[in-house]
């Protein structure tokens, strides 16, 4: 039963607000559903990753369009992943990223290339929204798109983009994040970059930030540790994109081969109970797809009650997996709860 898992980026979720720390939940939900569609924030653990043919890696804006019925997902054996590098990356850091790409070719057998560098630095900046969630900007989106178009013209079927992010090793927000509280300050700008590229080019895209290495933190939270194992955040992006489904416009003529995945086939969407106000979840709710709202504390308080949505509550992703299994097997979730009120007859 195809199932969507959404854990919005940059809102400080206890599960999924750090370095791919929702991956165990995603693996469990993939096993329960047999087919999980989720996004890079869930799957990306920098140097750590997990590849599972039951998990479809779909960038956030494409996930929104899939949920709205504007896109179909076409599973593929392998994507050719073009590498887009920000001209603002220093030579040594750039070399580190190229070596990661080469390592993924040599050790994992991924099809990577070509490599294109933007004609000017992208000039990424970070910010926080009124609610405290992370947002960000890039001053030169035109340069990002020019480089993306070059990669597409050269045969890339997916794009991994690496932008130079501002270093701020002394910031209190970074210290809090590394110690397991607060929001991922990079996440909002990362989402803007990958949303823009994927939306304009129609290709699977994902982003890794280029940053200088941080000094050792003896109090590092395990959920943030995946980002401190290497010099780059790129391996998970290359692995995720290497088998990401292709994006087919819903109004494009049908092609031969396996049928693509459409939103009509989705049997459930799972999201944090206090972060239900995103495009994908609302689109699913409007289609009548069951929404499983998981207790996963975050900065927001946009609940089912506040939005007037009907949801199936779950106290954990373990319970959500049980609910997915129930839906998959045709068992009404209400039958699993007590008390079970009697049916009332209509007058």
């Amino acid at each position: 039963m195809p199932t969507l898992l959404v854990i919005p980026t940059g809102i400080g979720c206890a599960v999924g607000g750090f370095a791919g720390d929702a991956l165990p939940a995603a693996r469990l939900l993939a096993a329960a559903s047999g087919c999980l569609i989720t996004h890079p924030n869930v799957m990306n653990g920098a140097a750590l990753y997990w590849s599972d043919p039951r998990i479809h890696y779909v960038e956030g804006s494409s996930l929104d369009r899939f949920a709205a019925g504007d896109l179909f997902l076409q599973p593929v054996r392998q994507q050719r992943v073009g590498l887009l590098l920000d001209a603002g990356i220093e030579p040594e850091l750039r070399q580190r990223h190229l070596q990661v790409a080469d390592g993924c070719r040599a050790t994992l057998g991924l099809n990577i290339g070509p490599v294109v560098t933007t004609d000017v630095p992208l000039e990424v900046s970070l910010s926080l929204g009124a609610s405290g969630v992370s947002w960000g900007q890039l001053r030169r989106p035109d340069a990002l798109l020019r480089a993306g178009e070059q990669l597409k013209a050269a045969g890339a079927t997916a794009i991994a983009v690496v932008a130079r992010f501002p270093d701020d090793p002394e910031s209190e927000a970074l210290a809090a994040y590394r110690q397991g509280s607060g929001v991922d300050a990079l996440a909002g700008a990362e989402a803007v970059i990958s949303h823009l590229l994927s939306r304009e080019l129609g290709l699977p895209c994902a982003h890794a930030p280029a940053l200088s290495p941080l000094p050792l933190d003896p109090d590092l939270d395990p959920r943030a540790a995946g980002e401190e194992l290497g010099f780059t955040f790129l391996p998970c992006v290359l692995v995720g994109l290497s088998r990401a489904p292709s994006l087919l416009p819903a109004d494009a003529p049908a092609s031969a081969g396996a049928s693509p995945l459409a939103i009509d086939a989705v049997g459930a969407v799972i999201a944090p109970a206090a972060a239900l106000g995103g495009a994908a979840v609302l689109a699913c709710a409007e289609r009548g797809i069951p929404v499983i709202a998981v207790d996963n504390p975050c900065l927001l308080n946009v609940t089912a009650e506040a939005l007037g949505l009907e949801v199936i509550p779950a106290v954990s992703y373990s319970e959500a997996a049980g609910l997915v299994l129930a839906l998959r097997e045709g068992i009404a979730p209400a039958a699993l709860r007590r008390p079970l009120p009697p049916l009332s007859s209509r007058p």
Binding site: P8, G60, S61, A68, S127, G129, A130, S131, V133, W135, Q137, L138, P141, D142, L145, R146, E149, A191, V192, H195, L196, R199, E200, A275, G277, G278, A279, L282, A283, E286, L300, N301, V302, A306, L307, G308
Partner: protein, 69 residues
């Protein structure tokens, strides 16, 4: 490919009956093409209505005076 600026938007929106998603996207279109958005707070008013806080990034329109011919 021509592209406008990326603009942050903070918006308060009174909820009306009908599709919530369509209301948000329609309200954002006044500022540009929505790229990424979320409802980040909901306040209940005394009359039982809801006031939504939307945070977004939109692609602003290119100023026609500045665009290439």
């Amino acid at each position: 490919m021509s592209l406008g600026e990326l603009l942050p938007v903070l918006l308060q929106l009174e909820r009306r009956p009908g599709s919530l998603r369509a209301q948000v996207e329609s309200a954002l279109l006044r500022f540009g093409e929505p790229l990424r958005w979320a409802i980040t707070a909901v306040d209940q008013s005394a009359d039982g209505g809801s006031l939504l806080q939307i945070e977004a990034v939109v692609i602003g329109a290119i100023d026609p005076m500045c665009s290439e011919a």
